[in-house]
């Protein structure tokens, strides 16, 4: 078995993965991803997943060893934010040509590329990603990275995740493995403290971790490494000295969290910063783990005080939206943001959840969702485009929250939509983030354009227009035309009356 195959099997065997616990040994072997159906598949490759996890490390040069497509079509496409270095946003690729491939010059070109980057940018480390074509032609990136690291005297980290080995999720995990094998634990920090934690799987999209970090600061808790959002290489390399860890995005980095616990005795819990209750719960858990590891017991009290204050403020702010949002129907179509806690906060202010996707939710989450939704039918794994479109155009929801993939289904169905995935414009984490999310929902639902786009053209029948038409002579004829036209009232106009 090749080393990569061993790695993949190991990742599939992850004992801490909830889904895995229910499988027997044989089922685990098969891995998590169902085989894709040609002609009916969606989603990114393992390379995509690896890059998502590692690229937000901001001071590292990320070099993609591939022909153009892997990097050329995908760089600078995510909304993670950096508080300092910008090198991560510069795209580096070996851009292999046909000649390179045919002549077998891949490895040489890679080596030279590493040298060029080192000379021009002098980054603290270079991450090298393999891809389908370079794996197929047998380029040994581990060997090249090793040689380059020795020669140039800086860490050159191989990330061996050719796209065709599997899904984005597998790539997330393999990226975690690369960090374990080559980065974490390679640097000893000289400033270890009893309140040091790691946050794993937080991407700092739209800078949203900056809504959370001040809370931790207030409690005297230091983030040793946030992986990967706004991370620096040295933070990651010395992450093994944290006392406790929180794993954010449910399954993406589970293997990393578990192995760090195993190797360096860093206990972790799974949590989320989305929603009020989850944010509080996360703070509580962090405090608890730190206290277990020897931090002063008083931390727990401090944490409870902060939670009480912040929750009160957040609920008060949210309450202001109740009159505007009570009874509004939300369709939560995402796996990325943990739906339970968000659903919970929305329901607290009287919003109705008419559906939620549970594709990426854990068993526990599903249970919790089931309890608050009361109607199991409102949970779905995924919905085909056509069904989703029908549901929205039949006006069964006032807004859909989802990722970019289904954006245009909602918009073309003339239904308000809010992006809550990678490319979103607004930060939604923490207490303030939840308030922001609700504010954005309010803005989206009540935007005056919905009236305009749903209004049929004047030459299609629309009784509401009659009232608005100025009664000048020349208009009279047109108005008559309306009356003669089909009397069937379009369903959309009814919606308006309700939502006004």
């Amino acid at each position: 078995m090749s080393p990569l195959t061993v790695k993949i099997n190991d990742v599939f065997n992850e004992p801490a993965c909830e889904k895995n616990r229910s499988k027997d040994a044989k089922a685990r072997q098969k891995g998590c991803s169902k085989p894709l159906t040609p002609g009916a598949a969606a989603g990114g490759c393992a390379f995509d997943g690896a890059k998502i996890v590692l690229q937000p490390i901001t001071d590292v040069a990320h070099l993609i060893h591939a022909p153009l497509a892997c990097e050329g079509n995908s760089w600078d496409n995510r909304g993670a934010a950096s508080s300092g270095p910008t090198l991560w946003r510069t795209s580096f690729t070996t851009d292999l040509t046909e000649l390179d491939v045919v002549m077998g010059q891949g490895e040489r070109k890679l080596f030279k590329a590493i040298r060029e980057i080192k000379e021009k940018h002098a980054p603290p480390a270079i991450f090298v990603y393999s891809t389908c074509v370079t794996a197929l032609i047998g380029d040994d990136i581990e060997a090249v990275c090793k040689r380059a690291a020795e020669k140039f005297g800086l860490p050159v980290v191989p990330v061996n995740t050719p796209g065709f080995v599997g899904s984005k999720n597998l790539g997330n995990k393999l990226a975690g493995e690369a960090l374990l094998d080559h980065v974490i634990g390679t640097v000893e920090p000289d400033d270890i403290g009893p309140f040091d934690i790691n946050i794993l799987g937080e991407f700092n999209l739209s800078g949203e971790f900056w809504l959370v970090k001040p809370l931790l600061d207030r409690l005297g808790i230091r983030v040793r490494a946030c992986i990967p959002g706004d991370a620096r290489y040295l933070d990651v390399a010395s992450a093994h000295r944290a006392r406790a860890a929180m794993m954010v995005c449910s399954t993406a980095l589970i293997n990393l969290a578990r192995k760090m616990e195993e190797r360096w005795d860093i206990p972790f819990f799974e949590g989320s910063f989305y929603g009020i209750t989850d944010t509080s719960e996360a703070l509580r858990q962090i405090a608890k783990l730190l206290v277990n590891k020897g931090a002063d017991l008083e931390l727990i009290e401090r944490t409870e005080t902060l939670i009480a204050e912040e929750e009160a403020i957040a609920w008060e702010k949210l309450e202001a939206y109740r009159p505007r949002l009570e009874g509004k129907r939300v369709l939560l179509n995402t796996g990325g943001v943990k739906s339970w806690s968000v659903a919970h906060a929305l329901m607290e202010i009287g919003v109705e959840i008419v559906g939620t996707s549970v594709k990426k939710s854990t068993v526990e989450d599903k249970e919790r969702i089931k309890q608050i939704l009361k109607d199991e039918n409102h949970m779905f794994e995924s919905m085909p485009a056509r069904e989703l479109y029908d549901m929205l155009s039949e006006d069964k929801a006032d807004i859909m929250l989802s990722g970019g993939r289904t954006q245009f289904i909602a918009l073309k169905a003339k239904t308000p939509w809010l992006d809550i995935n990678q490319e979103r414009q607004h930060p939604y984490a923490g207490y303030e983030g939840m308030v922001e999310l609700v504010r954005q929902i309010d803005l989206a639902i009540h935007n005056p354009i919905w009236r305009q786009v749903r209004e049929p053209a004047p030459w299609e029948y629309q009784p509401a227009i009659e009232k608005e038409l100025p009664s000048t002579k020349s208009d009279t004829e047109t108005v008559h035309d309306f009356k003669k036209a089909s009397p069937q009232e379009p369903t959309v106009s009814a919606t308006f009356e309700e939502s006004r």
Partner: protein, 461 residues
């Protein structure tokens, strides 16, 4: 003659290119009731799809044969067949456009042979759907090549061969990929104003202009050139190809059907538009309508008003060859100078005609290196980082444009489009004008003697 400098770096920095299969997919998207299919691993499709959606802000149909590691090693014909059958069963399109990717091309298989086997064995299931193959490995070319290959493949596969009875009023237009939705619409209206009928292949103005069918979700393209139109291309009086990269499809059409072609390397600028209008006059036997003459007069006025802002300005452009030519000639035609020109390939014939001293085959890293001191950067949205660092305004052109709205509805060709371009650029210059300060005008500061400065602009004309 323009010198063309090959790429010598090993690490491309901030790629200029989008991939060749993406270009082919884009061309297939200009056909009605079509769906492009990437033959490769799922990731390539996912990236291309996201990028297309970010640019057009539309749902884009694009599928994948979902090759995994095992399939790649064993050969991918089964996956190709399954994908085609699935697409047919689920969406029943009129056209499936297969675009190969680097992965399957590296493994190497006879895709054309495989595809005709599939079509033969599955003739009954696949009836009513055309399947066209474009060989577009990512390690070669970029959008331009992919687009041209797809158009060529459609003509070869679908267009009825042999001389046919010509319709006197019908012309075939093969636009380059760099024309916007607005350009295509404008082109059609202009042709129609001469009493002619234009069949445009591909026609993104029908499919990616933002309009939607009213009452249902359609999983394929809606709008664009019909398969029937492609079938009947041979009945046109004349073919007009726009952009050097469209020469090959035009030649193929001529060879197969005898329809002669005229090639316009660019349709931007007064002179090229004059030629185009004269050709339409000649074909139709009617003089240019008043409306068009008026547009010409408006352009003349824009040239007069606009030239103040262009004279002596240094422009740094990175674009695929035909677009580079289109824009570089536009700028020099207004009195500006091309200070840096970067392109995606050295093989296009048009590069020799680009009015710059040299064209670097390279990336946005190269552009950034050459552009210091320029007054304007001209490239796609990815140029934003360089523009920020250099503090030079960026004019967004080409693909992808993901951080501005409406790029597809900007006009860039014929009298009116040239006029719009002049206004756009002049306004960028006016917006970034610096007020004079004593320091900036002090004659003793940074004194440059003529012999060590760069040759003045006019010496190159």
């Amino acid at each position: 003659m323009t010198r063309i400098l090959p790429q010598t770096k090993s690490a491309a920095v901030n790629p200029l290119k989008s991939s060749q299969p993406l270009g082919a997919a884009l061309a297939f998207l200009g056909v009605n009731d079509a769906i492009p299919l990437f033959h490769g691993s799922q990731g390539c499709t996912s990236f291309a799809l996201v990028l297309l959606v970010r640019h057009f802000k539309e749902a884009v149909p694009l599928q994948t044969t979902a090759m995994d590691e095992v399939a790649t090693i064993l050969g991918g014909m089964d996956h190709l067949e399954e994908a085609i059958l699935n697409l047919k069963a689920r969406t029943n399109p009129e056209l499936i456009g297969v675009c190969t990717t680097a992965l399957v091309e590296t493994r190497g298989e006879d895709f054309a042979r495989g595809l005709s086997n599939i079509k033969m064995m599955r003739a009954k299931e696949l009836a009513g759907t055309e399947i066209v193959l474009a060989n577009t490995p990512d390690f070669d070319g970029a959008i331009e090549e992919g687009w041209a290959k797809a158009v060529t493949a459609m003509i070869q596969r679908i267009t009825l061969r042999g001389e046919q009875a010509r319709q006197r009023k019908k012309i075939a237009i093969l636009p380059g990929w760099n024309l916007t939705v607005a350009d295509i619409e404008h082109l059609r209206e202009t042709v129609e104003s001469f009493g002619l009928k234009a069949v445009i292949l591909p026609d993104l103005s029908g499919s990616l202009d933002g309009t939607v069918p009213d009452d249902r979700w359609v999983p394929t393209t809606y709008g664009g050139t019909t398969v029937k139109d492609i079938h009947e291309l041979g009945t046109a009086m004349q073919c007009i190809a726009i952009g050097e990269h469209m020469r090959r499809p035009a030649e193929v059409l001529e060879r197969l059907t005898g329809v002669p072609y005229a090639l316009f390397q660019s349709l931007t600028g007064l002179k090229d538009t004059d030629r185009f209008v004269s050709l339409l006059s000649a074909i139709s036997g009617t003089p240019a309508p008043a409306k068009i003459r008026r547009r010409r007069a408006q352009l003349q006025d824009a040239l007069l008003d606009g030239h103040f802002h262009f004279g002596g300005k240094k422009i740094a452009i990175a674009a695929e060859p035909d677009q580079l030519y289109q824009l570089a000639t536009f700028f020099t035609g207004m009195g500006a100078e091309i200070a840096a020109a970067v392109s995606t390939t050295g093989t296009s014939k048009i590069l020799e005609k680009v009015p710059a001293e040299q064209v670097q085959v390279g990336d946005l890293g190269d552009l950034e290196g050459f552009a210091a001191g320029a007054d304007l950067l001209v490239t796609h949205s990815h140029g934003r980082q360089a523009a920020e660092r250099l503090r030079i305004p960026l004019m967004r052109v080409g693909f992808p444009i993901f951080d501005r709205l409406g790029s597809q509805h900007k006009l860039t060709i014929l009298y009116q489009g040239t006029r719009d371009l002049i206004f756009d650029v002049a306004n960028i210059f006016q917006a970034s004008q610096h007020a004079p300060t004593p320091g900036s005008l002090d004659p003793f500061r940074n004194r440059e003697m003529p012999d060590d400065s760069r040759p003045p602009t006019f010496s190159r004309h």
